[in-house]
Symmetry: C2
Subunit: 134 residues, 2 copies
DNA sequence: TAATACTCTACTAATTTGGTAGGATAATAA
DNA sequence: TTATTATCCTACCAAATTAGTAGAGTATTA
């Protein structure tokens, strides 16, 4: 399951995609329009900026904009930035790999099964973009 | 991510599949062979029995056996029994559906995206069985 | 009737989730 | 230069979930 945080992130990005290209949009506007708690959204957008998904501008007339065209931002990258791994097991994760301590991966049947699951899931999530969230 | 509990469940079922068909296998044997905490495994196997995945027999010579042929037990059904939903959003879940309170599903873009993700993931998980976990 | 092995309820500690508070910093404009 | 705007950042907190453990109860068999 996606966390609430990731859901908010995707909703916020969909909103920004709807305004792309265009000037900076303020957190407060996104929070109000998408009904997301303002302070929570602050921390979320900050993370998305650190993940090179958003650009920010401070001061009057400031706000957030997408770092690039909505079609170039995959849903997979957003989930990874907020929730971390997409895979169902650490030992099959591409971006958050972690060795199992109690199995040999070349022979582990769980590893084999969940590698296939990962491939199927990620194939869809890499193809879907923020453009699809408008 | 799968919970530890689900991982243990799958490992235990893989072990039982390796002995199928055959007499009852005791919790203690599974726990030792698969290095799963005994008392934790007790609660897990109980849940799998209640989900009609395992049969149990009490008393001397008792233990657990698969309820049916390993090929007839999907990995999807095991995950659902232990962790619950496989989908990434409650509003696209087939077995654990829950309405979003803040979006109209027929028009919600998140719903559309994660329905496709669900279909891809579940297609694999329904095809994989406990037989693949031996 | 004693031993075996699952059953069940309840409890606990650690981690994660879903936020909030409040001040710091940077940009703009009067 | 100073007020205003809006993001940045650290720290905190409560509730929920996860990962187990404890211990007594029940059914089966020999």
């Amino acid at each position: 399951m996606l966390s609430n945080k990731a859901k908010y992130a995707l909703r916020a990005l969909g909103y920004l995609a709807g305004k792309y290209p265009g000037g900076p949009v303020q957190i407060a506007e996104i929070a109000e329009q998408q009904k997301i708690p303002l302070k929570f959204l602050e921390t979320i957008l900050l993370e998305l900026r650190k993940a090179d998904i958003l650009l920010s501008k401070k001061g009057k007339g400031g706000g957030y904009t997408l770092e690039r065209d909505p079609k170039q931002i995959s849903v997979a990258s957003v989930i990874r930035a907020i929730d971390g791994p997409i895979s169902m097991l650490p030992c099959v994760s591409l971006y958050f790999y972690k060795k199992c301590d109690d199995c040999d991966e070349t022979h582990c049947s769980l590893n084999r099964v969940f590698t296939d699951v990962r491939d199927a899931t990620i194939k869809v999530l890499e193809k879907k973009t923020v453009r699809d969230l408008i």
